[in-house]
């Protein structure tokens, strides 16, 4: 994947030196000095080899547009994206689980019907548009949330607790926009899983023992539907990372998505490669976490892992 990315950037017209020169005619010796400084005078294959070797050591190169090491630039952007993705994931899980359970309360009734139509609609709305409308409704018309940025002005001087609260407050609305679509899909699965589980023997046995309905749904049926939900959450991770790009652009938040977008416009090859790499690492790490979560949620999977499977 990284190889493909590198080849594409190489194939594109123009280099960082062209961009720095900004269309002005550049004396050949100045241009040569620039290209030598960025290593652009070496053949592509040599540069690719050097990049891979350095990346393995944690050195992702030098950002041509920001004049800082790529790892520093990425490191500065990562926390904001992690916070955003975390908020998105929380919204997705909480909303998905509670809506799915609500569905089952009155299957095929009015609430069920309205909620599933609303869910389908929300899942189909483009994220960037949902973001704009959320800003309009919940940041301007009804000023509950800040419309943009990742922290309040002057927040640097606050106590750590106040700063953290401020950061979450700023991430809440973009996080909700990021997670709500996936929540609707999740709710469908929770509903289907719950309906199936409620018909099964162990749930009926619990019911016969006199377990109250609420406990029955949450403790017994929901527990049995966890494995597919964990899997689905793992599948939705690339979406979450991709979505953060649009959400960060719409909400004007600093983060990896904004970084990738800005770097691509500045044709800053090392940063672009770095963000694609970091995004992929995030997704792979998340998928690994989902697999571990599956082992926790499903004793059968745990047995398979323990048995060397």
């Amino acid at each position: 994947m990284l190889t493909a990315t590198f080849v594409l950037v190489e194939a594109a017209p123009g280099t960082a030196a062209d961009l720095l020169a900004e269309e002005r005619p550049l004396p050949p010796e100045a241009r040569a000095r620039l290209e030598a400084a960025f290593g652009l005078d070496r053949p592509p294959l040599a540069r690719y080899g050097a990049w891979i070797a350095a990346a393995a050591r944690g050195d992702l190169g030098w950002s041509t547009s920001r004049g800082r090491p790529v790892s520093q630039v990425l490191g500065a952007a990562l926390p904001a994206t992690l916070l955003l993705a975390g908020c998105g994931l929380t919204v997705q899980l909480v909303l998905g689980l509670s809506l799915g359970t609500l569905h089952v309360w009155r299957p095929r009734g009015g609430v069920d019907h309205v909620a599933s139509v609303a869910g389908l609609t929300v899942a189909s709305v483009p994220t960037f548009w949902l973001g704009l409308m959320a800003i309009l409704a919940l940041a301007y018309r009804l000023p509950l949330f800040p419309p943009s940025s990742s922290h309040s002005i002057g927040a640097e001087a606050w106590s750590p607790a106040a700063r953290a609260l401020d950061a979450v407050w700023h991430a809440a609305l973009p996080g909700a926009v990021l997670g709500v679509g996936a929540a609707a899909a999740l709710a469908r699965y929770v509903r289907a899983g719950l309906l199936r589980a409620l018909g099964e023997g162990f749930v009926r046995a619990a019911k016969a023992r006199g377990v109250p309905p609420g406990t029955l749904v949450v403790r017994h049926a929901l527990r049995a539907t966890l494995p597919p939900i964990v899997t689905l959450t793992g599948i939705s991770l690339p979406t979450l990372v991709s979505g953060s790009l649009v959400v960060e652009v719409v909400f004007g938040r600093p983060g990896m998505g904004r970084l990738a977008y800005d770097a691509v416009l500045a044709r800053d090859l090392p940063v672009v490669l770095g963000t694609v790499l970091a995004g992929t690492v995030l997704v792979v790490a998340g998928t690994l976490a989902a697999d571990l979560g599956l082992a926790w949620a499903d004793p059968r999977a745990r047995a398979a892992v323990a048995g060397g499977g």
């Binding site: 990315t5 194939a11 690339p238 979406t239 998505g257």
Partner: protein, 318 residues
């Protein structure tokens, strides 16, 4: 087809017909800016006076008054001016309002459907052909071919797609063919996995085994025996993929990296209205609603084709 699926088909069909017929429909020119003063950011259903002067030129006015002697005056902004004899005046309604440059949003929405639906449709086609080919090859060939193809598919699935798309669109000059190839080339993985799974399930079935033992070559097996059996699956994926591709193209155009202006696209229209959300919400609202409508319709159609209601786990939302 059942209820919602039928409505979905009607909606998409209507958009397709409108998009094809846009040049002959009685719409205003989508890129004309006839009057920046009078027509700028008119809200939906707003009306303005169109004045046709005797020499054939067209002007717009906020207000037209006729005196009893038949002489007419018009108001543009705060200034009144007299109309020459023989000037015709009509009141025009702008159903969806106008944008910052006084362009008619209804005609921009319909014209925008052309680029958005074309790009989405072609991209979905590319993704389906690629995905079906990969899935069929992996499922029928098996062995290490299968293993290699599926590892590639898994690898492609774990890259956040929008990062890759943004990269592609910014590296090469954005254009409709690039958007189609980029979106199609990054959306084939779901189809590949679905088709491979179905092919593996089918290969145990008697009719496939019979064909194989009768000496059918892999290509013949794929084209004549397996492909017809997975047509429903492919149709469901086609419908969903179409919606997702339209959505992705919208995201790219919104970021300014999709089909380039001046061609109106739904994503581009939303970007136009982005900075004027507070005082002109309708500019961004209509194209977003249109996008959402098309995506909902594709879900309905997919549900109808498939027979029961399932939202597929969407591996990419943008």
């Amino acid at each position: 087809m059942r209820g919602p699926a039928r409505w979905g088909a009607v909606l998409i069909g209507a958009w397709a017909i409108a998009a094809v017929l846009a040049p002959v429909l009685p719409l205003r020119d989508p890129s004309a800016q006839p009057d920046g003063l009078v027509l700028r950011t008119l809200p939906p259903l707003a009306r303005a006076w169109e004045v046709r002067l005797p020499d054939g030129t067209r002007r717009y006015a906020h207000e037209v008054r006729r005196a009893e002697d038949g002489r007419a005056t018009m108001r543009r902004g705060a200034s009144w001016s007299e109309l020459p004899d023989g000037a015709q005046t009509h009141r025009r309604t702008f159903v969806l309002g106008t944008d910052l440059l006084g362009r008619d949003l209804l005609s921009r929405l319909v014209w925008g459907a052309r680029a958005s639906l074309l790009a989405g449709g072609l991209a979905a086609l590319v993704a389906l052909i690629l995905g079906t080919a990969v899935g069929l090859t992996a499922g029928i060939a098996g062995g290490w071919t299968d293993a290699v193809l599926m590892r590639i598919t898994d690898g492609a699935l774990s890259v956040p797609r929008l990062f890759l798309l943004v990269l592609l669109s910014a590296l090469f000059r954005p254009s409709l063919p690039l958007a189609v190839l980029a979106i199609g080339g990054t959306s084939w993985m779901v189809a590949a996995r679905l088709v491979r799974g179905e092919v593996l399930a089918l290969s145990e079935r008697p009719f496939v085994q019979a064909a194989r033992s009768a000496g059918a070559r892999p290509l013949r097996l794929a084209a004549l025996h397996v492909l017809p059996a997975i047509a429903t699956l492919v149709a469901v994926e086609a419908s969903l993929r179409f919606g997702q591709s339209v959505l992705l193209e919208g995201s790219l155009s919104f970021l300014g990296l999709g089909v380039p202006p001046p061609t109106p696209t739904w994503g581009g229209l939303i970007a136009d209205g982005r900075d004027r959300l507070l005082d002109a919400w309708w500019i961004a609202f209509w194209p977003g609603a249109a996008l959402a409508g098309v995506v909902v319709a594709t879900q309905w159609i997919a549900d109808g084709v498939q027979g029961d209601i399932v939202i597929w786990p969407r591996e990419e939302r943008t």
